[in-house]
Symmetry: D2
Subunit: 343 residues, 4 copies
């Protein structure tokens, strides 16, 4: 059994790791940390876990965590980059769900996050954990930087087109929308139900922190620099991301449906829908799955891709476990066969 | 492997049976019927099932269904009572999620449902499937009438008090609230999102069809006639039932917390919360579980019980599978270990 | 024109006062305070007000406020009781939407609010502002304590029965539910959309701060002590309160429908629905109106009353303006004719 | 007083006309039709109207309607085009909220709506009622075709850019999202709360009926043909439209903020937000207002416009009344000063 530690267990990606790992046959959570809830039983804070975990939150402590085979950081940015080096030195593997190791360039990181990177020397060995792009790299890693929730859906959506060199990579457009859980379990007026329910808005239009990650990742996929206009929106709902992607086709006559179906034919967690059917966030609710559709409206020269995922699963904790499975040589789907909860 | 047939597969309890049975090790769905969607793949209608079922809807046909070991009726009332006798004669077991076999008295049934009962002679062998009350009866049954969604939560909530003879059974009060999926997947203006979202209302106050079922079931539990005032409400949400129950205590000094904890100590699917913690529908979302709290406000003589469940799981399809497990001598929890999806 | 000051303008009752007063012909908001948002334009924080107010938040300052004819406190408790005496001394009228002056007995107040009352000597002149019960007292007041949101609906629902002496006042039951805006515009994890959306729960069952207010107010109505079991619930929605009330009838044969219709025949803001029609919170969304239905299920001896209101309007800011109209001898309905926003 | 008739009063645009006209000083609703609800009081179906209307639905009858000064069609398409000619002949003015008269070319109409146009000869005198574009034409009209909900927001969002010739009009992109009330008050499984709540999806990507209207309208604005990729989405909420618009700037250095502010400086119902502030659908809930923001992310060459409106007000009934005011020479804002309901 893989001994698992989780840093930052009181957030949404933390409780989601617990939910998913409860049915994972080869992993067991042995430590879960929280400064604020130190000593409180996890099933007292999250009663959905009652009967599944006999565990309490503890203070984040390098010694305890070092005894784990793998440590997940389910924290806001600025935590993993302080603790990871020591854990790696102690022989742990680290899977970071936060933004700390997503950008290769620490100056770019500083520019977007407004503070110096705390362990720039560790950045070099961080592997970006988008398995559908680079699972072979992940398999050899000690430190995995899980992609952001938006970047997962957007990269999976653009990947077949960019790999095939079919679109103008200089003017990619992503109009994406996330449920509120993407903003984390933090006390903010902006995310109170009366502020965001029954409403919709764009945010971060002038520059969202996922933009540099997107341009880096899509550039890696394309093998050349790309430029994107990225407009995120806030959805009045709990879970789910939907990305609507636009690009100019260089060869409008391409059968994009076949392209996508072939590209993802062997991927267990990417599901290209039949022509004419569009994804809904609800059909992947709670599942580690990205569902995708592609369309060329009116047969013109603009291709539209729609990609959905559960931001807490394929967009975060599920993908993190997928990376863990790869790291430890387990079947990639182990513990990740939950079906979407519909309705 | 138990061969399973499902009649009425396009409704919410139908798709929920499919979701849950996909991870059941001893059962396989071999037939699922729908007149309206005959020939359509189930995963085309319900894309959360893609990759889990290679099955299409078929016309309801006694011959096909007869080849099953067990047939679930996930239909509105008035279907099971027409088909069950023939299936039973063919050796099938029948688990009815509808109201057709819930009332022992066919005249009372007719009075509340506004038409004659189609197979009153079969009523005698129907067993009411509330395992926490009568699992030994269920184990011997061929025909199980699964309780309604409200009656499940309300009976589980009142059971310890009634069994202990602690409350005035002549004036029970249930103020309960259900999510909209309880109204079924049927085209009705009343259940459109703009009609029920961001709103709350009572309905059926003068007499809801679950009232006779409740008074019959609670009477069986109490061993004497009971009378209840039952006010159901419609919640602006997808899944979940919450029942708030009130009764006059005959012995106000009783330790009701201990009473409930002891009563349900060995029940896998009924979870009495620690004193002071109240249930939320979201902590049982997608789980076959009823979470209960009990309180005597201000130490007076009125006891308040709060009971929550997912109306589609413990209130319907999960409980139906729990009954199937009992019928076939399997562990009662088989295939029913999904954790609640929180948030 | 009445010069209006508002203390605590960044909360939900504050912005609702602004919305409603924007179309009031005889009142003008001249000062609105907020320590945190001092200097910020109100229409920057609340863009629905753009074009209607040329006003910025200022620090709460007795001098400025003293120049107003009336000052509304749209604050949490513990603010009005510190500032009201000075404003009253300066000749202002004070309308307090918070809990500070609702209980006549300052010791009882301290017991429920966990601190001493700051101006117990002022309590004696506070008038409880439920116009349908005591508008003549309000007309003569200098200091009005507006009822809580739950107490407004619950008292209006029970009033006809208590005045007629028709129910057992020793065992009143109120199962009520409020939208999340009732919890205020404050940064709390518990009220984030992912915590409360698509879910339902009871809270404060062992004792909610509205209980002593309810027992005091209902006792005044009944002319004798009453006892209530009060269970509030949290609804996954923005606005609205629904109270479901239960009581034992002493004379079950009474025509309660006629009783309610007669009782409220001349009330502009209480609307008794025709027999058989039940209220929904959405039909009073944004309107200063309480809609009520009454039913005696199965013709037994328990009466059920359903009462709805918008917690921010008839449950707070609308009623406060109604009180202002009475205080200043204006028509009670002035500025309060907004229709409910349906859907 | 203008005598108003409404055809199709049971839908969402019908009840919204009634809500808004209740506070219109110069208009009075004298007839409202519905085949299905003939004889039922409007306030029985829509209890938010209790006390404001003493009116019942009647059968649509040319004679009664002909006695009106103006008749609104709040119907699905295919009704107005059959009745309008006769009403016009009788001297009525007609304001059509449906799609029947929006396309000038009846063959194009047939192609998108799948049936012949019933009164192609009347199309020539229909005026497209987007007042901010052509209020002078509207003032002279007898028959006004109100824009669709999406086209209103999208045209207002693109108008300043197209008028200034600043964008590549051959590759406009609109990623827009509508609340469910946009789909009408019709019994459809697809719009049940459990189908659309807590979820998000695109629809009509291959071709939505608003596309030809958009290309016609935007072409009129630009004075040359335009091409648009239009992706509508369904939001899990009651009211509101948000359009996110993308276009390639021909002169990236333009001060688009100033352009928009100047363009709409004198428009009462179009509100350009200050730089850096983005619109939310909730701030225009219930108000006849379009709020707009514009941004050029990262200073590159793609401009992003965000435009919000309440789909039932500025996107339908409010704009229809605005057109009525223009038709009858009244102040354009009469009866349309409702503030947005926030929260």
């Amino acid at each position: 059994m893989i001994k698992v530690g989780i840093v930052g267990g009181t957030g949404y990606t933390g409780v989601e790791l617990l939910r998913l790992l409860a049915s994972h046959d080869e992993a067991q959570v042995v430590a879960i940390t929280s400064r604020g809830e130190n000593g409180r039983r996890v099933d007292n804070l999250f009663p959905n876990l009652r009967g599944y975990y006999d565990l309490a939150f503890s203070d984040p402590d390098i010694e305890t965590l070092s005894a784990c085979d793998v440590v997940f950081f389910a924290t806001p940015h600025n935590v993993a980059m302080r603790m990871a080096p020591e854990l790696l030195a102690a022989g742990c593997r680290v899977i970071d769900l936060s933004a700390d190791y997503r950008l290769r360039d620490h100056e770019r990181w500083s520019q977007w996050y407004g503070e110096p990177h705390a362990s720039p020397e560790t950045l070099a060995e961080a592997v970006y954990g988008l398995p559908e792009f680079n699972r072979h790299e992940v398999a050899k890693a000690r430190l995995v930087a899980c992609p952001g929730c938006y970047p997962t859906a957007i990269q999976l959506g653009f990947m077949p087109l960019l790999k095939a060199g079919l679109v103008d990579a200089d003017h990619l457009i992503a109009s994406a929308a996330s449920a509120v859980s993407g903003a984390g379990r933090q006390a903010k007026i902006d995310n109170l139900l009366p502020e965001v329910s029954d409403s919709f808005k764009a945010y971060g239009v002038s520059g969202h922190r996922h933009l540099p990650e997107l341009e880096q990742g899509l550039g890696d996929i394309a093998g050349a620099p790309v430029h994107m206009t990225f407009v995120p929106h806030m959805l009045p709902m709990i879970r789910g991301i939907h990305a609507t992607l636009f690009a100019r086709l260089s060869e409008p006559t391409t059968d994009v449906q076949a392209l996508f179906e072939d590209f993802y034919a062997n991927e267990p967690f990417v599901d290209v829908l039949p022509a004419g059917q569009y994804p809904q966030t609800r059909t992947v609710r709670g599942a580690n799955r990205c569902q995708i559709a592609v369309e060329v409206p009116q047969g013109r020269d603009t291709v539209v891709v729609m990609a959905t995922e559960d931001n807490l699963v394929k967009g975060a904790s599920g993908q993190a476990i997928q990376n863990m499975n790869i790291l430890f040589g387990l079947p990639e789907t182990l513990g990740l066969v939950q079906l979407g909860l519909l309705p």
